[in-house]
Symmetry: C2
Amino acid sequence: MAGIQKFGFEVLHEDPGTRARLGVLHTAHGDVPTPVFMPVGTAGAVKAMPADFLEALDARIILANTYHLYLRPGHERIKKLGGLHSFASWNGAILTDSGGYQVFSHRELRDISEEGVQFRSHIDGSQSFFTPEKVIEIQRALGSDIAMIFDDCTPYPCGHVDAAASMELSLRWAKRCKEEWNRADDGTQALFGIIQGSVYPDLRKRSAESLRELDYSGMAIGGLSVGEPKDLMYEVMESTAPLMPADRPRYLMGVGMPEDIVRAVAQGIDMFDCVLPTRNARNGYLFTSQGRILIKNALYAEDREPLDPNCSCTTCRKYSRAYLRHLFLSGEHLYAVYGTLHNLTFYLDMMRKIRQSIRLGNFGKWFGLMEKEGD
Amino acid sequence: MAGIQKFGFEVLHEDPGTRARLGVLHTAHGDVPTPVFMPVGTAGAVKAMPADFLEALDARIILANTYHLYLRPGHERIKKLGGLHSFASWNGAILTDSGGYQVFSHRELRDISEEGVQFRSHIDGSQSFFTPEKVIEIQRALGSDIAMIFDDCTPYPCGHVDAAASMELSLRWAKRCKEEWNRADDGTQALFGIIQGSVYPDLRKRSAESLRELDYSGMAIGGLSVGEPKDLMYEVMESTAPLMPADRPRYLMGVGMPEDIVRAVAQGIDMFDCVLPTRNARNGYLFTSQGRILIKNALYAEDREPLDPNCSCTTCRKYSRAYLRHLFLSGEHLYAVYGTLHNLTFYLDMMRKIRQSIRLGNFGKWFGLMEKEGD
């Protein structure tokens, strides 16, 4: 297997006016320029997006959910079929989450102990037990380019005592994940740590510093965008980002709206994922350069304009708002395809503009203008 | 508007061993080689098929449903937005049915009189009244390349007395349709007659002969594939086809399975439509050169093979049966996209092979072999 690209990260350029940086992830499935937004492909497929469309968008990395793939079709089956890239016929990079967040989301179905988490499948009610070691084994079977540690995620609000206990448990699990990962590490699959600690700066600091010592390939901020006010999310993000190693990729999990992403880039975050562009598209919520469009609105019934006159996606090149509204109201599968294509184009174009502005040294100016508008 | 292609039909070649013929429909939206299968695009979109995929398949004509488009978004609205081609951004040809079959399908919601049909919308229960004149007006507003007369469609079984009364009513409506169509005919939109008469040869003969006198641009056989046994369907088709004008396109409505289409081509039928390839795809029923595949079958859970090793569609080039089964079971929109793409490829490839075999003079041999296998 000589010649296979090992995982790596380079910072290519730093913005003079903010902490934003331009970088590149090297993976066994190609290079990924950062800052990057990873479309969510829960079940090994970005919902309603034919792979041809994703490739045409130049999406280089997608996120898949360990929890979902473990339950269906099963990681052993995917391994037997050549791993997730081969199974899903996706040649770009893949990051798998650890299932921690999904187990957290189905709170009523789970039971946590020091050893791990017992939970019931949301599909058929069957019982499973996730341990840190098991979750690393599953992600190894899937063969993702980037694996995440198994963590416990607190809800919002959460008292300091509970948040501290949860964070400490996550730290012990983080260590077990790293040990399990070390056993079979050949340099191709990265493992990222996840900083927890709810909205408490002291807990976030302790989490970040302890994880640094474990020397992960990258570091993530977890446990945000779980219902806390936006200002609080920004505060935690802004105080936590500087605690993350500067020479490793920094990943803000599950965030978010376009303006959140721009703010996080200004704090030095490199990687993002979120269901918003894809899920909102399916629900009729479309992002445009002129603000959001709720496509079912009667306002668009005879509107010949494209969703966004500044967008060059196939949806905007070919179809009117009136036609898209008609497809949405008629419950056509195609609406989901065209809506998702547009929203993902919006997100990936935004990331291209962010990277370009960092390259040209004017991200700070752009970001400053945006902050002013937000006042 | 000088220079716009008027509707026309040419027979290019006749098969020596059967009644099969190779032809071409000339329309204002391009030439359509026949025999042709028209994918069904009920609401102005072939379900789950991005237009790029349809174009790549070289689909030259699709069918849209007058009944559905009248109810939503409304023919007046579509007219205001430039007609159906412009609204749906489809540059190929479009045939619109007359809504007769849909009104027939929602039998409990309708009330027939000499003047027309009162019916309730299956969407919101609102009342509408279709007359022959109204249905021509709607299809003119939609701007389809081929319009169909408004007919009454009998169920199966249906007694001779009822079938005769229904057929005579259809004939009177056919005449009214033709008169309304004549008023604004500029040669670009064709109008096809529809032969009715249930399973009774005398009624079919009377219908066909009376319609011939009205000199339509093409002729269709309606009222088949409504529950009658297959042999009876073949009998009616085989006795009716010779009654249709040889110099006009012949269209068998709503039929059918691949073997039905081959048999009908041998009787000189030129045009087909059916929901089978698209609807069956969405339900997990896939056509292959080696027989049908029900994709949910556990047999395919770890099957690395493409759906059909003899198919060159993107679905077969990229994905395994195991992955498609996983998408189907996970309820992913993408399954519908890939399944539909495959089934439509199967149908359109079959039509290409039929046309090629007529061109080469070996359709009869191929058809003979198929009949033998069927024994």
